[in-house]
């Protein structure tokens, strides 16, 4: 089709080149072109945070980006976190603290927290709550999520 554009993007360390419809958003590209279905879609309006991924290290809502805008970027998704069968420490903290129920929001929180942890700072619970306000969870009431992130930040603070 005429309104297709070429993109070259590094996804979880691997370089991918593809042609995408100009109006396809990045979340759809990740999910339905690349099969990375761990990134979810809950509103396509930038409100729910289900689609949060890291683009050049920053947590962004991929439903608000066109796939074409990923050209030349490095993208990290939830699929990059575990090594083999081994959950990474953040994932393990979510598991230990019962930070997920249905799990639909989990990738959004994990990627938000991954970016947070790279700052290397400890945060108090109230600060964590503010930092994750862009991702909604309708199941847990947030308590387990906040505990898991607090624990992980404590472990990774420099």
């Amino acid at each position: 089709m005429a309104d297709e554009v070429a993109v070259t993007v590094t996804i979880n360390g691997e370089t991918v080149t593809d042609r995408v419809p100009a109006r396809m958003h990045a979340a759809d590209f990740l999910r339905h072109r690349l099969g990375l279905t761990g990134t979810h879609v809950g509103c396509e309006q930038g409100v729910c945070g289900m689609c949060t991924v890291l683009v050049n290290g920053e947590a962004v809502k991929s439903c608000l980006m066109f796939a074409a805008q990923l050209d030349g970027c490095a993208v990290e998704t939830v699929e990059s976190l575990a090594t083999g069968d081994q959950l990474n420490p953040l994932q393990q903290a979510f598991k230990d603290e019962h930070g997920l129920q249905c799990g639909f929001c989990t990738p959004g929180f994990l990627m938000t927290a991954t970016a947070l942890a790279r700052r290397g700072q400890r945060l108090c619970a109230a600060e964590i709550r503010e930092e994750i306000a862009g991702v909604l969870c309708r199941c847990t009431g947030y308590d387990g999520i906040v505990k898991a992130i607090a624990r992980h930040l404590d472990e990774t603070a420099v």
Binding site: P21, R23, R31, H32, L36, T37, G38, T39, H40, V41, G42, C43, E44, Q45, V47, C48, M50, T77, V78, E79, L81, A82, L87, Q91, F94, K95, H98, L100, Q101, C102, G103, F104, C105, T106, P107, L110, A126, I128, R129, E130, I132, A133, G134, L136, C137, R138, C139, T140, G141, Y142, D143, G144, I145, V146
Partner: protein, 796 residues
């Protein structure tokens, strides 16, 4: 107070034969977590069959209108469009949607997947398009020319009952009143006439949505030669979806396989089929191509059932010492424009007298049609609504009599020795210690100190109040015989199949889909416990009708109540045969061998054989006793004899600015009893999660309709405010554990309870803080504006 706190549970404690070994009662790691943490969940939109087509649905922009004409010709020409259906097609190709839980005594409404001649709510499906992509299908919708002739509409449940109101189903329902369901015992009117005091109020409950983060979705695939319709669906009840689709599509149940893998939340909203499910199947069958539909969030707000909206006229009559002598509650519950799969909430009636000992009571449920999105089930199913009315009015009663609201509650609560107790609606509360929860909540929130501190503003100028809300919650439900009287289209049982495999593991097959309630974990805990194997050896396969015994499904806080019995029986059958086969192989009597983790061993010599070896022998039939059949598998169905009633009390500490009406929930305490907790961490998660939904509905969530246009005003994620992490007040949870005598293992349901008490507790806290101003609140949600208005009203 201390004496009450230390009172031990007396009922249900001594039940013989309670199996309670190592795993039940521990916070075992969740089976569901690893895949979900790694982005390996399988949600419906993750299923992308080859050559899949996508569907988009055109919806009515009007709340009430006649469809004059539909012209699809331009859209049909659009490149990529494969098929378009309109109302007449659907009528030819399918039957109206069937209802799983009819409103008792109400007429059937012919709800087709696409509107016939009249649309009855904004968002009602009118036309469906299938194309090579969703974008193309949506573009094609724009090219469809639909002419509507708007007719007068009605949005409000009280207005709708006016004889002059527009009639929504004039041929079938008179006065927009679907039915009146009365229930009661004794002579409440006589008691009211002779009572020392009567308090009454009209309480308005807001229309809300459960708002799962995953919207609804379906992928339908038809292989005509095989006569096999495979439906991947985000549903709580795959076996019931199969039944309903068979009825509506005119297929045999054997032609349909419904698969629900992971669900991104459901909360009652994903019970049974919706119009779009039928449409996707019709298109898939006509086109012989897989068809996918994923609801977008704008659609969700109009197309997925709403919840709660009701108006309760509640009355309490009492003696001057605070003893309640009668309760009546007449309420109008909104149904929207059609009867959804679970109709409107029915449990307001069942628990209308709360935890109180009242014999003279009357409740009347009036189910009313309006031109709005149909109402359906949502966590709580009527119980939060009636709790708000009842518990608010208890406080008003106390204030009127100059008594303490806690004392009024305590004086009227059923005592452990009163139970089991049949309330005026016929509900039989099984067991519990209601007052103990009340006292614990009061102690945790600092009730006595607050009362002793006297009235008046705090140093920061704010007034502080404490509000209580006590409740009894029905979890699960009584037997199939009870349901049959009400026309329910499902049973009361759960079923499970266990199958040994040659790796030494046990495969567990269940029709209960996975939506965050952690049933995979709890089920595996019970099987590992009763069978005696390792928890890791149990693998749960959930939600596929082709690979699970026919069950009922995950709703009504019922799953574990019914399933625990089936799990126990099936595990025992499997264990007993395993022991016989192992004994044969170890040359010992079956009584002398035991399962210990991955092996079966002789108690005397310690000689052992692995489960993998025993299971392999069973599966091949080689090396088993001659009188035994080969194979190692068991299926059990279990129906509980009755519902189990959870209970508890919530307490909220609230500070209010009397100038602006601004208020803060500074602390929130919940004391709750769900009987034996199979997994305490999961129980806590369920209670917390539901509490935050209850807090959302109490403090701001509301689907608002413009009375003039009949349109939904705030139907987007940007305008509907579900709580985000910073919005949640500090919550403290306490539990008691009175085993239920009516369930296996003494469990009660736990999934819904948190939605019940928040609104009443907070409203009572605000009214307590503002008692000197004479403020009483009757409307949800509670917002600073509502409080400010009430202050203005009171000062007049």
């Amino acid at each position: 107070m201390t004496e009450t706190l230390e009172r031990r549970p007396t009922v249900g404690e001594e039940r013989g034969g309670q199996e309670r070994t190592s795993l039940i009662g521990t916070s075992a790691a969740r089976k569901e977590d690893d895949r979900l943490l790694r982005g390996d969940g399988r949600f419906t939109d993750d299923v992308d069959p080859l050559h899949v087509l996508e569907m988009a649905v055109g919806r009515s922009p009007y709340p009430h209108a006649r469809i004059v004409s539909i012209d699809v010709s331009a859209a049909l020409e659009f490149e990529g469009v494969r098929q378009i259906l309109v109302g007449a097609d659907v009528r030819r190709m399918s039957a109206p949607l069937t209802v799983l839980r009819p409103v008792p005594g109400a007429p059937k409404l012919p709800y087709y997947a696409l509107a016939q001649d009249v649309v009855r709510y904004e968002g009602e499906p009118v036309v469906s398009v299938v194309a090579t992509s969703r974008a193309i299908a949506e573009d094609a919708l724009e090219l469809i020319d639909i002419e509507y002739e708007p007719i007068p509409h009605v949005s409000d449940v009280i207005d709708a009952q006016d004889p002059e109101a527009p009639q929504i189903h004039p041929d079938l329902v008179e006065g927009n009143l679907m039915v009146v369901n009365p229930e009661g015992t004794g002579d409440p009117e006589a008691r009211i006439r002779s009572a020392d005091v009567v308090v009454s109020g009209r309480f308005r409950i807001n229309r809300v949505t459960g708002l799962p983060m995953e919207t609804r979705a379906i992928v339908a695939e038809w292989r005509p030669g095989a006569r096999e319709l495979t439906v991947h669906s985000s549903t709580q009840v795959p076996h019931l979806v199969r039944k309903q689709l068979a009825e509506v599509l005119g297929l045999a149940e054997s032609d349909i396989r419904a698969v629900a893998s992971d669900l991104g939340g459901a909360y009652g909203l994903k019970l049974g089929i919706y119009p779009e499910d039928v449409l996707a199947c019709l298109h898939a069958m006509a086109l012989r191509r897989p068809v996918k539909w994923v609801e977008d969030r704008m659609e969700f707000f109009r197309a997925t059932t709403h919840a709660r909206e009701a108006t309760h006229d509640y009355r309490i009559a009492a003696r001057s010492d605070g003893r309640i002598v009668a309760i009546t509650n007449t309420y109008a519950t909104d149904m929207g424009g059609w009867n959804s799969g679970f109709g409107s909430a029915q449990l307001s009636s069942v628990v209308f007298t709360g935890p109180y000992k009242v014999s003279d009571g009357y409740v009347e449920r009036r189910v009313v049609l309006t031109n709005k999105t149909p109402i359906g089930a949502y966590r709580g199913y009527g119980q939060p609504e009636v709790n708000f009315a009842c518990e608010r009015l208890i406080d008003q009663l106390a204030r009127k009599l100059g008594l303490d609201p806690l004392d009024v509650r305590a004086a009227n609560m059923l005592r452990p020795e009163d139970l089991p107790w049949r309330n005026p609606a016929g509900a039989v509360y099984d067991s519990g210690d209601y007052e103990r929860c009340l006292r614990m909540a009061a102690e945790a929130i600092g009730y006595d100190a607050h009362r002793a501190a006297g009235r008046g503003p705090r140093a920061d100028g704010r007034y502080v109040g404490i509000g209580l809300s006590s409740f009894v919650e029905r979890t699960g439900y009584a037997s199939a015989r009870f349901l049959a009287n009400r026309g329910s289209q499902y049973g009361a049982h759960e079923s499970v199949t266990l199958r040994a495999n040659r790796s030494g593991g046990i495969d567990l097959y269940t029709g209960v889909s996975t939506m965050g309630q952690s049933s995979e974990t709890a089920f595996a805990q019970i099987v590992a416990d009763v069978f005696g194997c390792d928890y890791d050896a149990v693998k749960v396969h959930a939600g596929d009708t082709a690979a699970s015994p026919l069950n009922t499904g995950a709703f009504a806080s019922r799953t574990l109540i019914a399933a625990s019995g089936a799990l126990k029986e099936a595990s025992e059958k499997l264990r007993d045969k395993t022991l016989r086969l192992a004994a044969y192989c170890l040359e010992a009597p079956a009584e002398d061998v035991e399962i210990a983790g991955a092996v079966v061993r002789r108690r005397d010599t310690g000689a052992s054989v692995t489960l993998a070896e025993v299971f392999s022998r069973a599966i091949t039939g080689q090396g088993i006793p001659p009188e035994e059949e080969p194979g190692l598998e068991s299926t059990s169905h279990f129906e509980p004899t009755d519902a189990a009633y959870s209970f508890g009390t919530a307490a909220a500490l609230v500070s209010v600015d009397p100038e602006t009406g601004d208020f803060d929930v500074e602390r929130f305490v919940m004391v709750h009893d769900c009987g034996v907790a199979v997994n305490p961490k999961i129980v806590e998660g369920q209670v917390r999660g539901a509490l935050v939904q209850g807090l959302g509905a109490a403090l701001g969530e509301e689907l608002r309709y413009d009375a003039e246009t009949g349109q939904l005003v705030n139907g987007t994620m940007m305008d509907y405010f579900a709580p985000a992490a910073p919005d949640v007040p500090p919550i403290e949870l306490l539990h008691t554990e009175v085993p239920s005598p009516v369930t296996t293992f003494g469990v009660r349901g736990v999934g819904e309870v948190g939605t019940i008490p928040p609104a009443a507790a907070i409203a009572n806290g605000i009214c307590d803080a503002l008692a000197d101003f004479g403020v009483e609140l009757h409307t949800m949600p509670l917002t600073p504006e509502v409080v400010w208005r009430a202050l203005q009203e009171a000062s007049r």
